[in-house]
Amino acid sequence: GESVGLHLPTLSVQEGDNSIINCAYSNSASDYFIWYKQESGKGPQFIIDIRSNMDKRQGQRVTVLLNKTVKHLSLQIAATQPGDSAVYFCAEIRSYGSSNTGKLIFGQGTTLQVKP
């Protein structure tokens, strides 16, 4: 079946380094992608999104890259801090026909560990 998945279950980085979390998706019809951060005991928190007509979008310390040719999504976190330690999920939106809302399909998640 079609799904959104992540390449690595765990990523360990040194505080201050840049982090890159990768995700591969299989549904070429998806037109909207989101990265979520989930801290222990909490619900997922929106980080950044990107539409399929873009290949890069920047936020505060985060950048999302989209490569539609190989169906690959990545999240780059600059100057990683201890507070960035969490599980990161990529998710895709599959629209319900002409509806503005769609079904959010989550990947498996990557645990980011930041070493002081």
Binding site: Y32, G43, D49, F89, N100, F106, Q108
Partner: protein
């Protein structure tokens, strides 16, 4: 800052018992979602409401799960009878307004079935 509220935060029950979870979305959000998240995995959509109407319940095990949003505001998810495999985090999310694709999640209810 407005948040999605859920209760209870934790629930322990024995199999074959009934459980219910409550969600209060962000005020004004027309769309409400219930997700189930098994430990180590991403959330999976169980049911989506637009106001009081169900948009998608294709992944809801309807023999034991039910969800309602009678007045189009808060919502209740019920499991009867609970089974061991239902142990998971149950997340509620809501969306609305100009950024209807951005879903705001509540803290979840952690269910343990013994």
């Amino acid at each position: 800052e407005a948040e999605v509220a859920q209760s209870p935060r934790y629930k322990i029950t024995e199999k074959s018992q009934a459980v219910a979870f409550w969600c209060d979305p962000i005020s004004g959000h027309a769309t409400l979602y219930w997700y189930r998240q098994i430990l180590g995995q991403g959330p999976e959509l169980l049911v989506q409401f637009q106001d009081e109407s169900v948009v998608d319940d294709s992944q809801l095990p309807k023999d034991r799960f039910s969800a309602e949003r009678l007045k189009g505001v808060d919502s209740t998810l019920k499991i009867q009878p609970a089974e061991l495999g239902d142990s998971a985090m149950y997340l509620c999310a809501s969306s609305g307004g100009d950024r209807d694709n951005e879903q705001f999640f509540g803290p979840g209810t952690r269910l343990t079935v013994l």
